[in-house]
Every structure is written in structure tokens, then in C-alpha cells.
Amino acid sequence: MEQGNPALPPRRPPQSGPASARPVSSSSCPFVCPVCGAAQPSLEQLNRHLDTSHFGVPNSTGPHTSEAPYNNDDDSASTSSTDALVNFFRTAQRKLLDPLSKLGTSLATGSNGSLLGDDVGALLLDISGSDMDTQLTDTPEHPMVTRVHWKPNSPNDLCDDPRCSKPLNVVNGRQHCRKCGKIFCHEHCQLFIRLAFNAVHDPVHGAWSRVCETCYVSRSGYQDIQGPTRSWTTQFLEQRKATVKRILLEENKLRNRLDKLSQLPSHPPTTAQPSILLGKNSRKQVEQSVVKWEADELATQCHGCQQPFTGILSRKHHCRLCGKVTCSRPECSSMFPITSKTGHKEETVPTRVCKRCMGILSRRTFIISAVRTKTPTLTAYQNLVRYRGNIEKLLPKFDQLVLKISQETSQVTEGHVDYQVAAKLRKDLLDNFSQFDRVSKQIPRLKNDTQGDQRLHAAIYQYCTHYLQHRMFSLSLLPRLLKRGQPTSTPGSQSSNKIPSPSPRSNSSLHASDITGVPKPPSSQSSNRPPSQASTVENQSTPSSTGITGGFFGLFGRNSPSKPDNTTNKTPPQLTKAELNRQLDTLEVLQEQRKLVETYLQDAIKHRKLEDAKSLRVSLAELDEEITNLQNALEPSE
């Protein structure tokens, strides 16, 4: 501020506050507004009138619709609107004194409006307080940003910032956000962005305008976090075409040579008397007719591994296809079987081929195998992806339905259409989930010869576990919703509601099968169960149980096609099938949990986390007790 604003509005004669702003009857004033014809007592008043009523349409002729909200502002402006005054100063300077601004600069520097009345001075400070505002007046070619959308002032305004809501007054300030038009206290409206005439953000030609934080932050691109990228793929593929072309030519050449080699006699007739050495040499000689061999003396190092040939152990070999010298290590050259004819009989002659030629020859098969090979891991994973796709498709639908049902809970019963659909979806989902789980459990058991495969399988399994944990959440909501709505349902289904429940949540003890229409006979057993047991069952179908993967599908056992219902024979007369199943499931879950807690415990002991171990032991004991209880309950039936 002390810098001195080059274009600080030159002082205007001190104004005696609100009193002077009263409308004066037209008879006594010589000034008439050129736009609307209203009489004004003085030039200043006329100016203000123009600013407040006819803002944004300078020099326009005839009434304008856009000014409607401000038509009556004359009176209220002087009493309540500090903005109007601010605008007045700004525009007065712009319109009347612009040519004098250079002169005004020297006058105004350092004065900061101290000559003005106190309240007006404060306002003036407000303007000069921001370099940005004065920049606006510096550049009169900018059109003024429209104010049509401004929220009208009222005496009891609060700051529109949701965190603030201070009353707006002289102390807190009163500012319109030029963009959204809401009113804020000074603190929450002190940022500046460039706005075009129609109050839309225009970073290039806009005028600096005061805005609130929301508008500041919501400028397009301001909070963009995705950086730019550049793709070389097209250029790369273009370049690669040349490579492939070259390789194809080379491949052709090599294949031709291969054909020639195979037509050569495996034991060419020798001119002189046969000897062991010559017999081999003669083949070598004819082989050289296919491609010229590199001279041994010139080759100092292997073409494959670049190792120099030293001593007797690293012998020089020639690739029969390109003629270059390589060593005999399997990384550099290998024997390739070629069928060759000697007279009438066919014979397989192992022929040395270097790594490079080998690669070119087998390239096509390699590419095909790369795309087509189906390892067991891949097949399993493709299955996973398929089930995941199904889940991904069904789950949003299901979630939507559940939401809908939950909003009209009191009316929804088992027979409700939505409920039926949801139950069906739930069943499908459960099927898919259990399939997904089944496949994921197979994966760690797949053949894993390499360390990489082991790591891969472990990672996939982990991924599946996470996936199930996150996705199975809403499944349990459905039965719970139903139960909430049940007091209005049929007496028949109410019977299950009479089970003494230790917690309200225990209502969700319904199983998938209950929903899918399997009638659940009311059983004396169920009502006799100890409360803690009931709550166990309840917990089985809550989403939280997804935390335990081991026992996870115990919960949905009956929905899972992979688990045949073989407990039927054992059903004793007094226990219904459903009841027994449920208890068996519970047992299974408990046992799985026990295992889990045990591993946690061992872990904790190993890491000397004694505090953890202590609490783990307690829970282990509880589990054991529960398991024994349950087993006792089941035993007499068996």
C-alpha cells in the first residue's frame, strides 16, 4: 500500500455521508439522467445514479432490461451498499478524471484518502488496498464486469462462506464475489482472477476482479493433477515396420539356405580314398557352398558372447547359415537337426546354427506362442476376470436396489417385487463370488516351478482376498433391511422374528437361502439357542466377516454349487435341516477363526508383542469354549 498506487482515485470533495444521497425532487435540480430521465440534484449524484442504476451500459440510450435490479438502488445504495460507493469511486475516476490521472498520481500518492470523512476513507482504503483493483482502473479499455448476477444487499447479510458466516458490516467488510455474485466478508473475498465482461473466467483478456475462494479454486485447470503425456507409439510402430521388413528378408534368406543345406548329401562322395577325417570334412566343404564361411584367422572373438578365443578349450565353430564364427557354448550356438538326403534314404544331420539365426528362424513361432500359450495360471486368471466382470456388472444394480429398498423400508416385504429382484441378484452375486473364491484358492496350488511363479501366485491370491473384502460389503444389507420392515409382514414369516435376540443386529441372521424362497420352518431349537450363539450366526452374514478369508465361504456354503449338501442324511428328527446346516456352518467358521487367531498369536509371540499376545490368548480361549459348546450341541444329534 505504501508503494503508492499510480492510479489511486483522486480525491473527490468530501461527502457528508448518507444524508446527501437522498433523492431530490426534479424541480430543484438541473441534472437529468440521460438514460432514464430521472432528475438529480448535482453532478455527483448523477454520476452515482449512472453507476448504480445504469451500470454496465455506459452511453447506452433508452432503458435497458439488465439494469432492472438496480433501478431502485439509489436510496439503499448510500445507506447499505458499500459496494456501490466503491464502484462510484472507481467509475468516477475512470469516467471523469481519466485524462487527469497522470496529474492525479502525484497528488494522490501517500494521501490514502486521509482527507475524506472517516467512513468514506475506510472504503477508499479498501480500494487502494489492492493493487489489482487499481490495475483495473489503469486499463479503461477493459469493459466492466457485469454485476447483474450480484446477490442483492440486505442489512442482515452473513458471509456466504460456509466456514465463516460472520455478519457483514463495516468491521468485517462486505464484498461481492464478482463471479458467483454472493456476498462475503473481506477475509473470504480477497482473491483476484481475470474475468471477462460476462463474469466468466478469461485468463487472457479478462479484467482483474475480486472473487471468493470457491470461484478462485474452481477455475478450470487450477486443481488439475493429471499431467501431460506424449506418445511415441506411432513413430515407434513406423520404425518397427522397417525392422520387421529387414527381419523378414533375412528370414527368407536363411530359409533358402536351410533348404539348400537339407538338399546336400549327408555323406558326400569323396574324390580320394575315404578317411575318418575327410569324411567329415567333405560335408563341411559342401556346406560351405551354401554360404561363405568367415576365415578362422580373422575371427578373434565369438559373435555371440564377444569373448575372445583363447586356447584349446574355446574352439571356433561356424554357423552353417550365416558363416560367422561362434563358440560352442549353448548361449551362442546350438545344433539344429536338418533332414538331409543321401541317395535314397533320409537322415537327420545336426547342424550348427548360431543363436541369432536361430532366433530369426524361430521368430514366427515365438510370436504365435507368446500370444497363444495358455499356461494354467493364465487360464485361471481369465476365469477370475470373468467372474469379476460378472460381479462388477451385477453389484451396482444390486447396490442401487438395496438403496431403493432401504428408502422405503416399512413397505418392503419378502413378496415385494424389488425385493425378489434384489434377492435374485444377490444369489447371482453370491454364485459369482463363490466361483471367484474357488478359483482364487486354486491358484496357490498351481504348479510353480520358478520363484517368479510362486511370487505371482501369492500376489494373485492376495489380490483376490482384498477384492472379496471390499466388494462383499453390501450383500449383507438386504436381509437386514427386510427384517427391519418385517413388523408389517405376514404372521408366518414373523415367527422367525421371535428368536430372542441379544442385539438388534441379530435380525440379519437370515441366510441367503431364506431369501431365495426356501421356507424356514419355525423350530424350537432356534429359540433355545443361547444368545451368544445367535449373535455368531448374525455375524456370519455381516459384511465384516469378509475379513476372514479362510472361513469365508462357509457362510455361503449352501449357495455355493461347489459344496454339495451332504449333511441331509444326518438330519435328526428334532433338528431341521436348515438349523443343522447353520450350526455346522457356524462351527466351520469358528474353527477357521481359531486357526487365524492362532497364527496371529504365534506371530505376536515371535515378534515379542506381548500385549497383543495377551489379548489374542483371551480370544483364543473364548473361541475354544464356543467351539466346544457348539460341538456338544451337535453331538447328541449325531
Binding site: 489489482m132 499431467g227 507409439t233 520404425q239 506362442s369 505371482l456 475379513g547
Partner: protein, 562 residues
């Protein structure tokens, strides 16, 4: 303007764009970047089942996997990728380079990809190490990238190249095409600015971002103008950990801590993944103690509720929450260990007394008194050698032009304390590097009578905390820049000039930033609405690494300059 998010966005994009089972193959540079902004489980949720280094030559062939390669386009990595494509191990290759890549490298790769396995070649500009939301480092160690060339005002060519690349990647990922300002006295800052300006013009279609209201500012500063900040003991969490234990790539090595548990030998500090750390990063040591107490209490409460298992439901809840609980317990242990070790070191090395004297040297002038106390400290067996060296360095800087300067005597005392001769030399190096004649601006506010009196006047206001009086010089510079008052002669514009109030500022410190400055920048970001500042540096210094870099630089110099 959040460097963590910017880098995260890139990595997330590359692992989600490639669907199916895949392996993420990285080089050394990109591994540290990736591990700074993402976790194994995030990668796993995007079907990235394996993570491997391209340097490992004996990876298993896994034709059922797709391969996402995220590499810095360095000669070495390109060569390795060429080898990889010649002997492919995976089904398909999607190549992402972390910076601008040369056309010749693309040709080289196209030449090598005989089996037509590459599906995608892209540039994703995540080539810097994000540390906080508003702090990044290029992590240039003096051993790998010695900064200085022939003398202390010239770049080493490799270091300049790397700095240029890192800064370009930062600008690109934040989508900024800035106006550049630099410190006039710094030849290195100016050179870097020139290079960046040329590079931006050379890649003008890449830097074709949406217009902003005011152009962002890239402010290039030189460490030599504020050698004091890295020499001071810090008292905020992050800065303290770095000063006393050292943070390297987000990891803290705790092997030197007595009786350390085996799983705490190396801990990871990540703003992004550790909410307690994120909260307490800039807390001073006292507040930190309060907070860690609360944290432990909160944990105990959870343990209590875990202990109280009355029903099966409680037990179920316990089993479910256990992994999360274990994570919390690990985090509590980590911070308790760290803070415990910090307070042990503070106690053991007499850091409170030391820090008080350091602050007095940094902030006020009273030669006789200071000298007296330095002598006492040098004689004290409690103070570590590094602490003693720091004191002498600070003294040498503060009283460089003082008539009764006793630097030589103090250096001799240092040598008697058993400090290596080469390291004692460092005091002279420091004066040669950042002495009064090398610096721009009035660091100690003692150059003329006006600044002296202003300094005295400010001193009258009293000191809130005797250990944290000093504020880095960056504070004044940024304040002036934000208010449009940064003087053109001292901080000239390169090419383009902008007179508007800056809204987005990227500060880059040639010669390394510090965590004290990072804290300052975070404070400015919090307290100044509408202004966003990001700080970067060739590295992030503590006093040890600062001295080390200095010693290293001088030992490489020709003898005439030493």
C-alpha cells in the same frame, strides 16, 4: 500444485491403462520415485502382481504376464530395455519413460523389437522425488552427481543435465510454463535458467498449457546465499529426523539406535501413507511430545477395547480389526522409537545448549560473548564433532569481516578435538563458497547502518522461542515475491517479464534445499490464500550432507582453487 499427487496420477494411469496380469519393471531411479508415492497394495489392486528391476538379468520368463516398463530414459536403462526386447520374457511390453526421450532411443528400440511385442511407448513426466506435497528433490548425491564443475560458479555437465531434466519433468507434471527469475550473483542459477528456457522453447508443443491468469514463476535460488540454514539444528519433526538420523528416499536407518528391535531397523516415513506423520511433520519437538502421548493413549484405548472381549461379537470385531490394529501398533511403535531416539540424541549431544548458541550466532551479534561460549563448547566432551564444526562454521560466517576474528584459532581447536584435517579445512571452503563477498543480499543484516538498526528494532520485539529464532532467508524472498516487491536488479527475469502478482510459484534451490525451508513453504501455503508454492532442490540437505558436499566439491577442484 501437489507434487505427490502429480507423480501418483502418472503411476496410477500407467498401471490402470494396461489391464490384466502384469509386472511392473523399473530401473533404480524410477523405483525410488514409485516407492515414494505408491504402495504395494495400490499396485496390487491394479493387477500389478509383480514388481521387478530391469537391472536383474535373471528374471524368470513369464509369457503369461504383460509388462509395464517405467524407466528413466538414461543411456543405461535404454540399453537394458534393448537387451530385454531382444530376449523377451513377457507377453507384451508397454514402455513409459519418465522424461523426454530422444528420437534416436526410439529408433534403437524399434530396431530391437524384432518380435513385435511392444504395444505402447509414452512419456510420463514423473522424474523427480516427491517428498511432501510442496517439496521435491532431485536426490543428487555428490558421489553420483558432483554439482560443481571447474570452479564453484560453474556446473558439472552431468549434474546440469540431470537438474535440467528433473526440473523440466516437474514443470511438465505440474503443467507450468513459467517466467524464470534467478539470483543475479549466481552463475549456476542463471545457466540453469537459460537451459530451461531453451528447453521449453524447444518443446513448445509440450509446454502448450492452458493460459493462466498470471504466468507461474520459477525462482532459481542458490544455496550459497543462505549457508546458515543447513548448518542449524532444527526442532521440527521432519527436519529433526533428517538432521539427527537422516532421511534417504523416505527411509530412516535406525541400526545405530541401541537395543533396536529387528523390525524397526529401517522405518519408512511417508506423508502420503502415514497420517500421524502427515499431521506432525512440522510440529516442534515440544508439541510433538504432546501429540505422540495422545497417539499412544489412543492406541492403548484401542488395546483396552480389544482386551475386553465379552461376547462372540466382540471377538469377531477383534479378529476383523486385528490387521488394522497391527498396522496401527506398528506405526505407534515406529513413531515412539523415532521420538525416543531423537530425545536421547538431544540429551546425549547437549543439543539444547548447542542450538541456543547456534541461534545466537545466526540471529544476533555479540562477538565477545559468542566467542567465549564457542570456546566452552569446543572444550566440552558432550558436543559431537559435527556440532563443533557447525559452530565454527557459523562463527566464521557471522564474524567474517570482524576485526578481532578468531576463526583460525577456533580451527586449530577443532583439529585438537580430533576432527579430521580435511574436514577442518571445510571452514575455509565455506567462506570461499558462501562468504560475504560471494553472497547476495544482507544475510546477517549487518552490512550497513540501516539494516543494522532495522535488525536491532526487530530484536526489541522479543524472542518467542530461543531455539527457533532464525527463519531461513527464503522467507523474506518469497514474501517479497508474493507482494510483487522482489527487486529486479537482484532477481532479474530471464526473457519474459511479468509484473502481475504471482499465484503459483516454484522455487528451486541450486545446491540443495532444507526441511526448515520446506516447513516455511508449507506455512506460506497455509497462511497465504491464493498463492501456491512448491519448493525443490538438487537434494535435501542436513548439516552433515551440506558439509560433505562442500568437502567433496573442494577435493575435486584443482589445487589453485582450494
Amino acid at each position: 500444485m501437489d507434487v505427490i499427487q502429480a507423480a501418483q496420477a502418472y503411476i496410477k494411469k500407467m498401471v490402470s491403462d494396461v489391464t490384466g496380469m502384469k509386472v511392473l519393471l523399473m530401473d533404480q531411479a524410477t523405483t525410488s520415485i514409485t516407492s515414494a508415492v505408491t504402495t504395494q497394495s495400490t499396485l496390487l489392486s491394479k493387477e500389478t502382481f509383480l514388481v521387478d528391476r530391469i537391472e536383474h538379468e535373471h528374471r524368470d520368463v513369464m509369457m503369461h504376464l504383460k509388462c509395464v516398463c517405467f524407466l528413466r530414459p538414461s543411456e543405461d536403462s535404454i540399453q537394458r530395455l534393448v537387451e530385454e526386447l531382444r530376449n523377451p520374457k513377457y507377453r507384451e511390453y508397454y514402455v513409459y519413460f519418465s522424461n523426454v526421450v530422444k528420437k534416436s532411443a526410439i529408433e534403437q528400440l524399434a530396431e530391437a523389437d524384432e518380435n513385435e511385442l511392444v504395444r505402447e511407448v509414452q512419456e510420463y513426466y514423473a522424474d523427480y522425488l516427491p517428498i511432501n506435497q510442496d517439496l521435491f528433490s532431485l536426490n543428487m548425491k555428490p558421489q553420483a552427481y558432483p554439482l560443481y564443475g571447474d570452479d564453484l560458479h560453474k556446473w558439472n555437465a552431468a549434474a546440469l543435465q540431470r537438474t535440467l531434466q528433473g526440473l523440466m519433468a516437474t514443470l511438465l507434471s505440474l503443467k507450468k510454463r513459467p517466467v524464470i527469475r534467478y539470483e543475479r550473483n549466481s552463475g549456476m542459477a542463471k545457466r540453469l535458467g537459460r537451459e530451461i528456457s531453451t528447453a521449453i522453447q524447444g518443446e513448445s508443443n509440450l509446454f502448450n498449457f492452458r493460459q493462466t491468469d498470471t504466468p507461474p514463476v520459477l525462482l532459481l535460488l542458490d544455496r550459497r546465499n543462505d549457508p546458515v540454514t543447513p548448518l542449524l539444528n532444527q526442532w521440527t519433526y521432519q527436519a529433526m529426523v533428517h538432521e539427527l538420523l537422516g532421511i534417504d528416499n523416505g527411509r530412516v536407518d535406525l541400526t545405530s539406535v541401541p537395543d533396536i528391535r529387528s523390525d524397526m531397523k529401517e522405518v519408512i516415513l511417508s506423508v502420503d501413507q502415514d497420517s500421524f506423520y502427515h499431521k506432525t511433520l512440522y510440529y516442534n519437538f515440544g508439541d510433538l511430545g504432546e501429540n505422540i502421548k495422545q497417539y499412544v493413549e489412543e492406541y492403548q484405548k484401542k488395546t483396552q477395547s480389544n482386551m475386553k472381549i465379552d461376547s462372540i461379537a466382540d471377538m469377531k470385531r477383534f479378529v476383523e480389526n486385528y490387521p488394522e490394529f497391527r498396522k496401527l501398533s506398528g506405526n505407534v511403535t515406529k513413531h515412539v522409537t523415532l521420538v525416543g531416539e531423537l530425545s536421547r540424541l538431544v540429551e546425549k549431544n547437549g543439543l539444547l545448549d548447542l542450538s541456543e548458541l547456534e541461534q545466537s550466532l545466526a540471529c544476533s551479534e555479540s562477538h565477545a560473548n559468542d566467542l567465549q561460549r564457542i570456546r566452552e563448547m569446543l572444550a566440552s566432551p558432550k558436543i559431537s564433532n559435527l556440532g563443533k564444526l557447525r559452530l565454527v562454521c557459523l562463527y566464521a560466517l557471522r564474524y567474517e569481516s570482524y576485526p578481532n576474528n578468531a576463526t583460525k584459532e577456533l580451527m586449530q581447536m577443532l583439529a585438537k578435538c580430533g576432527v579430521d584435517e580435511r574436514i577442518v579445512q571445510c571452514v575455509d571452503h565455506l567462506i570461499a563458497y558462501a562468504g560475504d563477498r560471494q553472497r547476495q543480499g544482507d544475510l546477517f543484516q549487518n552490512r550497513d547502518i540501516f539494516s543494522r538498526s532495522r535488525h536491532v528494532f526487530r530484536g526489541l520485539k522479543g524472542v518467542e522461542n530461543v531455539y527457533t529464532q532464525h527463519t531461513p532467508r527464503l522467507g523474506e524472498t518469497l514474501e517479497a515475491l508474493i507482494k510483487c516487491k522482489l527487486k529486479d536488479p537482484e532477481y532479474p527475469f530471464l526473457d519474459q517479464v511479468s509484473r502481475d502478482r504471482p499465484q503459483d510459484i516454484i522455487v528451486f534451490m541450486v545446491g540443495g534445499a532444507t526441511y526448515a525451508e520446506a516447513r516455511l513453504v508449507a506455512q506460506i501455503n497455509n497462511s497465504t490464500p491464493g498463492v501456491r508454492v512448491v519448493l525443490g532442490g538438487t537434494t535435501v540437505h542436513n548439516s552433515e550432507s551440506f558439509v560433505e558436499e562442500l568437502v567433496y566439491a573442494f577435493n575435486r577442484m584443482p589445487p589453485s582453487l582450494r
